[in-house]
């Protein structure tokens, strides 16, 4: 056992950090800077990060879940408004089905509550991380499990997460069409592994979003003065921020394990590891982002403060493939305690 990052993994994390620090939004108004966003998107495209889970000649992915999670964490920290989660999960579906890589930008479609991949029907399905995506992948029943199908994406919105759009599948468009040249159905194990990757990546994104929120709030606490001193000198504020930092560290340990487990453990174990990480991180992220708002005081409740952008990003990441309650139910189920699906 040695869970330190390899030099290559550290280099990947550092380069992702550099890209978002240079081109990510550093203020709410910068979210409207189309030129900056296009540059960030181009940098992510050039990096090849969206292809980490495409197949090599031997069917395996180019990179493990750890590499994908390291990128997800940094993009979350920097509130990157360029797609990564959606295209990565779409690439994984294609890989598992033995289909060729996408020819144009695509993402995945989830069930209306986002807690599962969309299965069988486009009705009510939601494409996530859908900005710039022409189509979204979903599953349709087939002999031996599921096949991957593709549907056009309709108009998107950034109503919840200001950095990642969601969209309905195009209501006027054609029904979902099977993706061409699939060589095998997705059985239950394949769907479990895909779900594990999705949970590991959203847990990593949550860790990043939380880290960014803590950094933001600590910076403010050192500058904002009341009673003649920085508010960060008051124990009441210090303890809020210390608790937030501790929650991030615990989440990070679980999320790193989940990312490793995606490829290293059997599907049921990988899914359980991912559910542990997602449950822990989803619970932590809401509190940590709320703390960031609280430490900012009145300003934290205004649109112009970035704290709510972190919270909104955490809400979406939390809901994708299920939040704390849904994943607690997955964990309990893995331990032989069924019927806990009522925990939401």
């Amino acid at each position: 056992m040695d869970v330190r990052l390899s030099p290559e993994q550290q280099a990947l994390r550092d380069s992702a950090a550099q890209v978002v620090d240079r081109l990510g939004p550093h203020a709410v108004r910068e979210l409207d800077d189309a030129e900056r966003a296009a540059k960030l998107d181009a940098a992510v495209t050039a990096s090849g990060w969206r292809e980490l889970r495409t197949a090599t000649d031997g069917d395996g992915p180019w990179a493990s879940g750890v590499e994908a999670a390291l990128v997800a964490e940094e993009l979350g920290r920097g509130l990157a408004d360029a797609p990564f989660l959606g295209p990565t999960l779409a690439a994984e579906l294609r890989r598992l089905a033995g289909a060729p890589p996408a020819a144009s930008p695509e993402t995945v479609a989830l069930a209306p509550d986002l807690a599962d991949v969309a299965r069988g029907t486009t009705g009510g399905a939601v494409a996530v991380d859908a900005h710039r995506a022409a189509s979204a992948l979903l599953l349709v029943p087939a002999p031996g499990g599921h096949r991957v199908a593709q549907a056009a994406v309709g108009a998107g919105t950034d109503r919840v997460d200001l950095t990642r759009w969601t969209a309905a599948l195009d209501p006027g468009g054609a029904a979902a069409e099977p993706v061409a040249d699939q060589t095998r159905p997705l059985d239950d194990d394949a769907v479990a592994r895909w779900t594990a990757l999705g949970l590991a990546l959203t847990a990593a994104d949550l860790v990043g979003t939380m880290r960014g929120a803590v950094d933001l709030a600590c910076g403010y606490a050192k500058e904002r003065r009341q009673y003649g001193q920085p508010i960060g000198a008051f124990q009441a504020v210090q303890h809020l921020l210390a608790d937030a930092f501790v929650a991030v560290e615990g989440s990070r340990s679980a999320a790193l394990h989940a990312a490793w487990a995606v490829d290293a453990l059997a599907p049921a174990e990988a899914l359980a590891a991912a559910a542990v990480a997602k449950a822990y991180a989803a619970r932590a992220a809401r509190t940590v982002c709320e703390t960031a708002i609280q430490v900012h005081g009145g300003i934290g409740n205004t649109w112009e403060c970035l704290a709510h952008v972190h919270l909104r990003r955490a809400i979406l990441s939390g809901d994708v493939l299920g939040g704390a309650g849904a994943n607690l139910a997955r964990v309990l189920d893995h331990h032989g305690i069924g019927g806990a699906g009522g925990l939401r």
Partner: protein, 377 residues
């Protein structure tokens, strides 16, 4: 990055699993019963003699100089077998290793590691809790000896200890952090009286208080130099905050496993709130195991005991208290005569975790100041 076993680690795990099949003493959890403490010395010695304790410590004090990550394997296998956790005394070993000279290390450490000598730790006093540097126990030089006078409290294992690591003031004329020294003093002498403290869950054999009234210690049994006591105490308490050093993951996992079995065996008996409490206990205990993997892997670069120990202590506390809540919720308070109050005791014991080894408030101060860089008022 790899959470899996290397071939050598896998072989070690298999040997330990085999050994546990015949050597699990079946003691109750340390938090719930005086029986645990009665059987603890034999458990420590058995574990050590079979080659499963003191793994990461130097060979000249009885360790095996293995990477710290082997301790995670021990914790996992003890929990899986329902065995008691490994003895929690790594912090004493680390403190003496770092501050003792060659002679002290050679004389003191092998007996601690192999479980033949039992030690307690005399730091806190009635008027010196979080503010440890205000302690008033005195050590006065008398020829080749020091004479110790004072009152220590929260002294774990004082009732069975052969020796006490006592922190005392050797110089009252220098700033208070600089006038402290550390000694190993024999508990078997007329100048020492110890009295057990009865804790809120009823156990009497873990914590005690000790009065020193002219107790004597050879000057050669000072650990570190005169005035080095504060730095030694900080080394000890920083390791005392680390779940990897304490082996508590095994304790939490054992309790969670037993609670899980209760719910799995009689699913209809438990409502959604109870199941939810159990679910969080499972998730939290697993998080701590993974966090310890991360911390002990970091030690492959060399040992450290910085402010991150406070992060770990706060995580460990959150986990112990979540498991405690699940114990109360699922295990129940056992009202009525003849009920089993094991789970109630485990819950009550969990409240001490946010106090012992430095309160959670102190840990938060350390995280805020030394990690987050927030200013002092």
């Amino acid at each position: 990055m790899d959470f899996g076993d290397s071939p050598a680690e896998a072989a070690f795990r298999a040997r330990l699993r085999d050994w546990l099949r015949d050597n699990n003493p079946g003691l109750p959890a340390s938090s719930t019963s005086d029986d645990y403490w009665a059987g603890q010395a034999a458990w420590h010695q058995g574990l050590y003699d079979a080659g499963f304790f003191g793994l990461s410590w130097p060979t000249d004090i009885g360790g095996q100089a293995l990477p710290s990550v082997y301790d995670v394997i021990v914790d996992e296998e003890l929990a899986a077998a329902g065995a008691p956790p490994r003895p929690s005394l790594g912090y004493l070993v680390q403190g003496i290793l770092e501050h003792g000279d060659e002679d002290v290390r050679r004389r003191f450490l092998p007996g601690i590691v192999n479980g033949r000598d039992r030690w307690c730790q005399g730091f806190s006093e009635p008027d010196a809790g979080s503010d440890l540097a205000s302690l008033r126990t005195r050590a006065e030089r008398d020829g080749d000896e020091y004479v110790i006078t004072g009152h220590k409290v929260w002294t774990s294992y004082s009732d069975v200890a052969d020796w006490c690591l006592v922190l005392a003031r050797t110089d009252a004329d220098v700033p208070r952090h600089k006038g402290l020294s550390a000694f190993r003093i024999s508990m078997r002498q007329p100048g020492i009286e110890q009295r057990p403290l009865r804790m809120i869950n009823g156990i009497t054999s873990e914590f005690g208080e000790v009065t020193f009234d002219g107790a004597r210690v050879p000057a050669s049994d000072m650990i570190g130099k005169p005035g080095e006591g504060w730095r030694l105490a900080m080394t000890v308490v920083s390791h005392e905050r680390e779940p990897g050093e304490l082996g508590y993951v095994a304790r939490y996992k054992k309790m969670v496993k037993e609670l899980t079995r209760l719910v799995r065996d009689e699913p209809g008996r438990y409502g959604p709130e109870q199941v939810r409490d159990l679910g969080w206990a499972i998730v939290d205990a697993e998080m701590l195991r993974l966090h310890v993997c991360r911390r002990l892997s970091d030690r492959l670069d060399g040992i450290s005991h910085g402010p991150e120990g406070s992060v770990d202590k706060l995580l460990m506390t959150q986990v112990e208290q979540a498991v405690g809540h699940a114990a109360l919720s699922v295990g129940g308070a056992a009202h009525g005569a003849g009920g089993d109050d094991t789970w109630l005791k485990a819950y009550l014991y969990s409240r001490a975790q946010s106090v012992m080894g430095g309160t959670s408030q102190i840990q938060r101060n350390l995280v805020a100041g030394r990690i987050l860089g927030l200013p002092t008022s």
